[in-house]
């Protein structure tokens, strides 16, 4: 059985940059569009990297800014200054 | 010129919720009213708490104070969550600016060494007392009755955590972000004689079981003496002794204290006006806690500001108590 981690964002402008960055850094991720919501799932691990988001946004970005747009997550969270990781360890 | 707006106008069938109609009549309610009145369960609880089988889950007898309706206690600031966080966000923006400025210009590390030492010994350890206030208010938010009362205490709890964090950042400004100053300040809190009175008072407050008594010991009495002592009198001392830059780092606390006394005073006035029994009970508690708070603060005051400052604070507090309808034992 597969172990999917996932994250969903409100479908808004900020989320578009996040989704773009996530796809860039996680080629195995699958993006699904739902009403008012964008959901991304990936086998085992998903990483959001500050550097990539900043490049796409063209400005400094604090990982915690993400909290404004997240709807839900699945997986163990590991967060520091530079990245936000969702992961299943098994 | 008039613009005709083509809308399908519809009259509302009611102006507000039934509980608010019963209280205030069928008229549009404020967001504060909608968010605060009658939002808690009051009857038909299913199970007795395993941790307190003598009481119902929501039980007005968790305090000796009696109110026919605790919703009589309202917040003069009319804070519901949205109004609360937006007010604090404005305050934190200004505060952030001050801390950033102070860090960039290295204002604290340029202070004379003895002044830095005094800040570390007399101000930074207060962060622990703030955590005590945070715990006490979270406890009251969980135990008390009526949304108008409970919500003020969770705001207060979070405010105190925030102030403890600001004080910690003063420590981090002093030690260049290593945490050493905070370790030192904690050692003062634990062992330095000037803090032991206050630490004992705070620890004693942790075992008060009556939530209204706890609110009195914390939000009325201790804060009523400690906040003016440290953020007004000690601040004044700093200004007079070359430490005026520190004031911008404690502005949040001064503004906050001015604001919070409004709801604290309003709550006590309402509770005292309810019955003579309430007045007697509150007065009795006050006579236990006020002298203890004064005693607890003596060694700190002696070191930080001089005893005279504490005595002046105490007499200003007596005036405040009088306005609320209570008597300070001093008189």
């Amino acid at each position: 059985m597969s172990s999917l981690v996932y994250i969903a964002f409100q479908d808004n402008d900020a989320a578009r940059y996040l989704v773009e960055s996530i796809i860039q850094d996680n080629p195995h991720a699958v993006v699904q569009h739902h009403p008012a919501m964008i959901r991304i799932e990936a086998e085992k691990r998903l990483e959001i990297r500050r550097e990539t988001v900043e490049e796409n946004l063209g400005r400094a970005w604090d990982v915690q800014e993400m909290l404004l747009d997240v709807i839900t997550i699945g997986g163990n969270v590991d967060e520091d200054d530079d990245r936000f990781v969702l992961e299943w360890k098994n | 010129m008039s613009v005709e707006i083509k809308t399908n106008t519809v009259e509302p069938i009611r102006q507000t919720f039934s509980n608010l109609q019963r209280r205030f009549g069928d008229k549009p309610a404020s967001r504060y009213q909608e968010a605060s009145f009658d939002i808690e369960a009051v009857t038909n609880f299913h199970y007795r708490p395993l941790w307190d089988p003598q009481h119902e889950l929501h039980d007005p007898t968790r305090t000796a104070i009696r109110m026919a309706d605790w919703h009589k206690v309202t917040d003069p600031r009319q804070f519901y969550y949205g109004a609360y966080v937006q007010t604090r966000a404005r305050m934190q923006e200004a505060t952030e600016h001050a801390y950033g400025f102070c860090e960039k210009r290295e204002l604290l590390s340029r202070l004379p060494a003895e002044l830095q030492a005094k800040l570390l010994r007399c101000l930074v350890p207060l962060r622990h007392a703030e955590l005590g206030a945070n715990m006490n208010n979270s406890s009251i938010a969980g135990d008390s009755i009526a949304g108008t009362v409970t919500q003020m205490h969770i705001y207060q709890a979070m405010d105190r955590l925030g102030m403890g964090q600001y004080l910690s950042r003063i420590g981090l400004l002093l030690d260049g972000g290593t945490g050493e100053a905070l370790d030192q300040a904690k050692a003062y809190w634990l062992d330095d004689p000037i803090w032991q009175g206050l630490r004992r008072y705070v620890e004693d407050s942790f075992v008060i079981r009556d939530w209204f008594e706890l609110g009195l010991a914390q939000n009325l009495v201790l804060d009523g003496l400690l906040q003016p002592l440290m953020y007004q009198r000690f601040d004044q001392w700093l200004t007079e002794n070359g430490g005026s830059d520190v004031a911008m780092l404690t502005e949040f606390m001064r503004d906050w204290y001015g604001e919070s006394t409004r709801w604290v005073d309003a709550m006590f006035k309402t509770v005292l006006a309810e019955s003579e029994a309430n007045r007697e009970q509150v007065q009795a508690w006050l006579e236990v806690w006020e002298p203890r708070a004064y005693e607890a603060l003596l060694p700190l005051a002696e070191e930080a500001t001089g005893i005279a400052a504490l005595d002046e604070v105490r007499s200003a507090f007596a005036t405040r108590l009088q306005k609320i309808g209570l008597k300070s034992r001093e008189e």
Binding site: - | F45, Y81, G82, G142, D175, T178, G179
Partner: protein, 518 residues
């Protein structure tokens, strides 16, 4: 000052200094007097320092981000009200989902606020306390924003006007109420297992995502906005839920069996509670998002599968009776809607027979069960209704002693047989809807014999009257003829038709094209 030989703190360590390092070991009062509730459940914590902060949000950031969210949210509420947004929803039947939400969910948010405030004081680990307090104030946010979103609907629709009064009294609202009372009357560790882990982490997606996507599909801008805004807090709460479980499991092996029992209990409690949400998804949304069965597959079977695989290393297995939910997902929503349809005299929302298009959708989504067991029943009731004999059941249903849902579910291995269990405790026989609920009772009979079962209370005359009408009007505050009964022809329906300049149907009948064509 001092020496600068130490390194600057990284984010993680800095956050520890700004939260748990504010705490100290008390010496003037004994630890067990300061934290008296930490041991009675039998959970062993050897080292609170091992607590991993689930998120690192200091109060200044919290104020900043939350204020930004609130500003956006209230701008939309204002715009919604000013533009009479309630007229732009898909159909007035949709509002009945909101009635269920406001009376059944919003009061739970308030209970959660007080519950987390309490546990936010009770743990001796300051990191855990602070995380709980942030959730406490978030939960307060949720109940308040929900009320503010519903305020406008309440001005134009019935059934929303006395949510809090109803929550304490109405028969089916004892399902959510007893759930939350159960969690809050438990000890602090069980409360977190119940709410943070089992509910927030494992099941909350099944509550919020369907409701909010449903709102988005049905033109309800206000609800979408508060829902998704609330969910952004939920991501923090879910992280706390997972951290709590892992922490307790890592602290001591003796904790494992206790936690397993709690997981079994709270999974089953949550599953029964969510039946109401499933019914909403399958029957109350005019524009449907996904079926309950599909939602269960995505949000429980798939996500929960990965979770429990991850927890295996601690000796935790998937919740007991989980296999029954895989069978039940094809049945329970139909069984519950059929129940509410009959007992609509005593509900604060309307019920109806789905139109043909909706019946076809249900047939398609539930190919194994709907046509075989449920469609004929709904079609029969529709025929009765067309003849002017809308079916109402004038009795009250028999409630399960634990979950308090009427005992209307069928046996896992036989969908034609009602599932019924009973157990004798101290000479008294108690009744249950399932093995899951019966087990919960047997583990804590002293707790569950106290349950305030609305139907028993009504029959015992404790609800202001012996007859149903008095109870409904006087005790429940359900306005007869306005809040309750059939949707077709109701005041809500008539106002909707007037706004939309549609004609009133000549007789109450399920909205069905077949009938019109005949």
């Amino acid at each position: 000052m001092a020496t600068h030989n130490k390194k600057r703190l990284n984010l993680k360590d800095k956050y520890r200094y700004l939260t748990r390092d504010l705490a100290w070991e008390t010496t003037y009062q004994k630890k067990e007097d300061v934290f008296p509730l930490e041991h009675f459940e039998g959970i062993k914590i050897t080292d609170w320092d091992k607590w991993e902060d689930p998120f690192r949000l200091t109060m200044d950031s919290y104020w900043k981000y939350q204020a930004e969210k609130e500003k956006k949210l209230y701008a939309i509420f204002d715009a919604f009200a000013q533009n009479n947004g309630h007229q732009n929803i898909s159909d007035a039947r949709y509002v009945n989902a909101l009635k269920l939400f406001l009376t059944g969910v919003s009061p739970l948010e308030y209970q959660a606020f007080q519950g987390f405030s309490r546990v936010g004081r009770q743990f001796s680990g300051a990191g855990a306390r602070v995380a709980c307090q942030m959730q406490a104030i978030d939960e307060l946010r949720h109940v308040q924003t929900q009320l503010h979103a519903m305020s406008h609907y309440n001005k134009h629709f019935n059934g929303l006007h006395d949510f809090s009064h109803m929550y304490d009294r109405v028969w089916f609202l004892s399902v959510p109420k007893s759930f939350m009372d159960d969690a809050r009357t438990a000890g602090p560790f069980e409360f977190l297992t119940a709410i943070s882990f089992s509910f927030e982490y494992v099941l909350t997606n099944l509550l919020f995502v369907p409701f909010m996507s449903g709102a988005a599909y049905n033109g309800d801008m206000a609800t979408v906005t508060f829902g998704f805004s609330a969910q952004s807090d939920e991501a923090r709460h879910m992280t706390l839920g997972l951290e709590v479980i892992k922490f307790m499991l890592e602290q001591h092996e003796d904790n494992v069996p206790i936690i397993q029992r709690w997981i079994d209990k709270w999974f089953w409690r949550g599953y029964r509670l969510l039946t109401l949400v499933g019914m909403m998804m399958d029957y109350m949304l005019p524009n449907k998002v996904m079926s309950w069965a599909e939602a269960w597959e995505v949000y429980y079977e798939q996500a929960g599968g990965a979770l429990f695989k991850d927890l295996e290393r601690y000796g935790i297995r998937p919740p007991k009776y989980v296999e029954q939910t895989t069978i039940g997902k094809e049945h329970i929503t139909h069984q519950v809607w059929a129940t509410f349809y009959q007992y609509s005299k005593a509900t604060n929302f309307h019920t109806w027979i789905p139109g043909d298009e909706e019946l076809n959708w249900l047939s398609e989504k539930y190919p194994n069960t709907f046509d075989k067991y449920y469609r004929p029943r709904f079609e029969f009731w529709r025929e009765q209704q067309a003849k002017g004999e809308r079916f109402y059941n004038d009795t009250l249903p028999h409630l399960c002693q634990v979950c308090q849902v009427p005992a209307i579910f069928t046996e896992p291995d036989d969908p034609t047989k009602l599932s019924h269990r009973s157990h004798v405790h101290e000479g008294e026989r108690y009744h249950f809807c399932s093995d899951g609920c019966c087990d919960i009772f047997k583990n804590e009979p002293v707790k569950y014999i106290q349950a305030w079962l609305p139907v028993h209370q009504i029959y015992q005359g404790n609800c202001e009257g012996g007859d149903l009408e008095t109870v409904v009007q006087k005790y429940f505050h359900i306005n007869i003829g306005q809040d309750n009964l059939e949707y077709v022809g109701s005041p809500d329906h008539q106002r909707w038709l007037a706004w939309k300049k549609l004609e009133t149907p000549s007789q109450p009948a399920g909205s069905n094209k077949e009938h019109d064509a005949a």
